[in-house]
C-alpha cells in the first residue's frame, strides 16, 4: 500500500452483491478511510448485512469493484446460537489470534496476554473467564470488539451493535468506537438510529441500492431519508434546548414484532 494518508481502506465502485444471480444490493460506491467512522443506514432488508458479507469475503461481488487494503474484523449481528456456545470471553478474544500461528499450535502465553489486554481495554478484565452467553448484551459486543483488537483489524465492521442495549452500554460502545477510529482504524457501523449516525464522519444510506453517501449534515436530507426508509417524514416542533427534529413514519411493516 502507498503511504498516502488518504489511501482508503475500503473502496467500492458500482458494487453489486446478492445470494443468487440477481443482486439484492447494487450501485454501492463509497470509500472508508483510516480513522473514519461511517454509519450504514437502511431499513430491515435494506442490504446492510449483505454489504458486510461482501466486505468479509463471504459473498463474491456480482458486479462492480471492491478493493480492500486489509482484512476485516467484525462484530456480527446478534445471533441466538452464539449465546449457547461453550466458550468464555477469553476464548472468544483468543479467536482473534488464530491466523498468527501455525495451524497445529495452541495459543501460547503471549497470545493469552494479548487477549487479556484486549479484554481489559474494553473494560472486561474481570469477566474474562465468564461464559460468553452469560454476559450482558453490551459486554458481549465489547468481547467481540476485543476479538477484533487481538486480530489487530484495521477495518472493523459492526452490524447493528446497539440493538437491545441500554443507554449506558450504548454510550460505552460509542466511546469505544471513537477510540478505534482515533487510533487509525476504519469503522463501519450499521445502525437503525439516524440521530446517532449524525455524530459520525460519514453516512452510507442503503435501500437495496445506495441512496446516498457523504457527511451526515449534508447527506441526511428529508428526501434521502424518505428514499432510504421508504416512509413518510414529519417535522416535530422544536422542544426545549433542541431544534426541530425529523421523525419517520414507517410504512406498515411486516417483519417486526415489537
Amino acid at each position: 500500500m502507498s503511504g498516502l494518508a488518504s489511501a482508503p481502506l475500503v473502496r467500492t465502485d458500482a458494487l453489486a452483491v446478492g445470494y443468487g444471480a440477481a443482486p439484492v444490493l447494487s450501485d454501492v460506491s463509497f470509500d472508508l478511510r483510516a480513522g473514519e467512522r461511517i454509519g450504514v443506514l437502511g431499513p430491515n432488508g435494506g442490504g446492510k448485512t449483505t454489504l458486510f458479507r461482501a466486505l468479509l469475503g463471504e459473498l463474491k461481488p456480482l458486479g462492480g469493484a471492491l478493493d480492500l487494503a486489509a482484512r476485516c474484523g467484525t462484530v456480527p449481528q446478534t445471533e441466538r446460537s452464539r449465546l449457547d456456545f461453550p466458550v468464555s470471553a477469553l476464548d472468544v478474544a483468543l479467536m482473534g489470534a488464530i491466523a498468527g500461528r501455525p495451524w497445529w499450535k495452541h495459543p501460547g502465553r503471549a497470545e493469552r496476554r494479548a487477549a487479556r489486554e484486549a479484554l481489559a481495554r474494553v473494560g472486561l478484565a474481570e469477566l474474562a473467564d465468564r461464559s460468553f452467553g452469560e454476559l450482558s448484551g453490551g459486554q458481549r459486543q465489547r468481547v467481540l470488539v476485543a476479538r477484533a483488537l487481538v486480530q489487530d483489524a484495521r477495518i472493523v465492521l459492526l452490524d447493528e451493535p446497539f440493538t437491545g442495549l441500554d443507554a449506558v452500554s450504548i454510550r460505552r460502545l460509542e466511546d469505544l468506537l471513537d477510540e478505534l477510529a482515533g487510533e487509525g482504524r476504519g469503522v463501519l457501523i450499521a445502525t437503525h438510529d439516524v440521530e446517532q449516525a449524525r455524530a459520525w464522519d460519514r453516512v452510507l444510506c442503503l435501500n437495496r441500492r445506495q441512496v446516498a453517501f457523504g457527511p451526515p449534515a449534508e447527506t441526511l436530507s428529508l428526501d434521502v431519508l424518505a428514499a432510504t426508509y421508504g416512509g413518510s417524514i414529519v417535522t416535530l416542533p422544536a422542544v426545549a434546548g433542541e431544534g426541530e427534529r425529523l421523525a419517520l413514519l414507517p410504512p406498515h411493516h411486516h417483519d417486526h414484532e415489537h
Partner: protein, 302 residues
Amino acid sequence: MFEAFDYPFVQRALVEVLLLSLAAGTLGTWIVVRGLAFYSHGVAAAAFPGLVLADGLGFSATLGAFGVALLFALTVGQLAARGRGGHDSLTALVLVAALAIGVVLASDVFHSGANVETLLFGSLLAVDDADIRLAIVVAALALLATWTLGQRWLAVGFDPSAARGLGVRSPAADLVLLVLIALAAVATLSAVGALLATALLVVPAATVRMATRRMLPWQLGTIVLAAAEGTAGLWLSFETNAPPGATIAVIAGGIFALVALARSAATMYTRTRGVAQPLGLRPRVAFENSPEARSRGGEGAR
C-alpha cells in the same frame, strides 16, 4: 453378576466400545457445535448400500462403506465450500436414496437375507480384529485432529461470518471434520449399525452438553458417558439377549431424556423460586425470555 465380561467375545466387544467412545466423545462435541448431527446420521446411512455391495461382491465391508461415506462427505464439503449452507435437504435426500438402494440391492440383487439386519443394526458381539484396528485408527485420528484443528473448528462454528477475516476459513479444516465423521460413522457401523450410529456419535455429546459450558469438560464428559453407556448396553444385552446396538441406543436415549427432564425441572424450580441458577444448569429459556432476546426476535441474522 458380571460374568458376561469373562467371555472373550464380550471382552473384544468392550474394547471396541471403549475405543469408539474415544472417537465419539471428541467428534460428537464437534458434531453438536457445528450442527452436523443430521449429516452424521446421513453419512452412516449412506454407508449402508456400500456395505450391502461389499457383502454381495465379497470385498471388505469397511472399504465399501467408507468409499460411499467418503463420496458423501466430499459432496457435502464441496457444497459447503461454495457457500451453499444448509446441508440438510441434501442429506435427507441422500438418506432416503441410500436406504432404498441398499434395500433393493440386498433383497433383489444379492439376496443378502439375514445380513441386512446386521448391517442396519450392527453386531457388536461379532467384531473382529479388523474392526478393532479401524476403531484404533479412528480414535487416534479424532484425538489428533481435535488437538490440532479444534481451535479452528470452534472459531468457525462460533462465528462463520468472521472466519475469513480471522484467517481461519480454510475449507480443508472443515473437510477434515466431515471426512473424520464419515470415518467414525463407518467404524461405528460394526458396533451399532447404520441406523443407530448416532446413538454413539451424537447422543452422548448432546447429553453432556446440557451440563457443561466449556469444550474440554464437555469432551471428557462425553467420552466417559459414551464409554459408560456402551459398557452398560453391552452387559445388559448379554443378560437379556437383546441386540447390543439397540440396547446401547435405548440407554443413551433414556439418559438423554432424563438429563433433559432434570434440566427443565431445575429451570422451573429456579424460576418459581427466583433464585440464582446452579452452575451448569443455566437453561436456554433464560436467554429466550430476556427482553433483549425478544427485541432481537424475528430478525433472522443469517
